[in-house]
Amino acid sequence: MNTKNTTLSRTQFQFQPFHLVTPSPWPLLTSFALLILTSAAVMYFNGYANPLGGSGALLVGIGLATTVAAMALWFRDVVAEGTFLGDHTILVQKGITMGVALFIISEVFFFISVFWAFFHSSLSPTVELGAQWPPVGIATINPFELPLLNTILLLSSGATVTYAHHSVIEGNRRGAILGTLMTLVFAILFTICQGIEYVNAGFTIADGVFGSTFFFSTGFHGIHVIIGTAFIAVAFFRMLSYHLTDHHHLGFEASILYWHFVDVVWLFLFITVYWWGS
């Protein structure tokens, strides 16, 4: 009779519920990559050219590529540990969720500083701007054209990603895939529309403090949209590869939380920078 129970339980060899990570080269690699990225960026901004010729932007590109690669390799290991090795116990999941939430809170504070800069200059415009906001001579963007479309796109993407999440919890694979795919479609449409706006804007980042605050705020928001899109895309491919279960899908939930944060920042941007600031 072949009834021997060969199932191994974690409690048979690990007497505490946490995840003690095995040695990994990725944190060190990431820190070196970030060092290259930040020092190259500082040199590029200050006009120190590449000694081999060029503006120094190449090294920034190299730094960016190595940072992205190091992050990808690190996250790949996290996926392996969680999905295939079973290291993500309930308590580990709780810890990861807290970590994601804290990271997003830190990003909120970054955006608070960006909005602070905008309000500092716009609430009491200087005489050099004609003591008015928008400053004299700036051709502002009509908030009820493309920006309104962008708002609808992001709000809709929030709805589709919520539908996808509920589908995952209910075990509805088709709904989950369609919902996530629609979210990605809306996200990419948003980025395309912002690109069109940027190209056709009547002012540049160099056009006084209006240009600076506008492109700084919308630009950093756009970077976060692209990061959020990539995050959801990774979750999408993992979903297709059957990594997610109806109870355990932290990467997907983290990407959704990040996406909602991006959406809320856009709503603030729309109301203050686009609407009030025009």
Binding site: T126, V127, E128, L129, G130, A131, Q132, P135, V136, G137
Partner: protein, 79 residues
């Protein structure tokens, strides 16, 4: 002996500009004067009170700079 009373006064306190920094006050008076001139014509005397205010409040360098900017059409006020 005729005594001439010399009247010395400056621009009145404007509740729109309550703080110590009166830059906006100076700019607003200068701008109001020129807006008034544009609306009522150069000869009219009604604009003179704004002129007195801005001449009291504003540093000469600023007045000269803004006059030059107006001549070149690059003045930063919505005239």
């Amino acid at each position: 002996m005729a005594e001439e009373t010399v009247e010395i006064k400056t621009a009145p306190a404007d509740f729109r500009f309550p703080s110590q920094n009166q830059t906006k006050h100076c700019f607003t008076r200068y701008f109001e004067y020129h807006k008034c001139l544009k609306a009522k014509g150069e000869i009219s005397n009604e604009c003179e009170k704004y002129a007195k205010y801005y001449r009291s409040l504003c540093p000469l360098e600023w007045i000269q700079k803004w006059n030059e900017q107006r001549d070149q059409g690059i003045f930063a006020g919505p005239l």
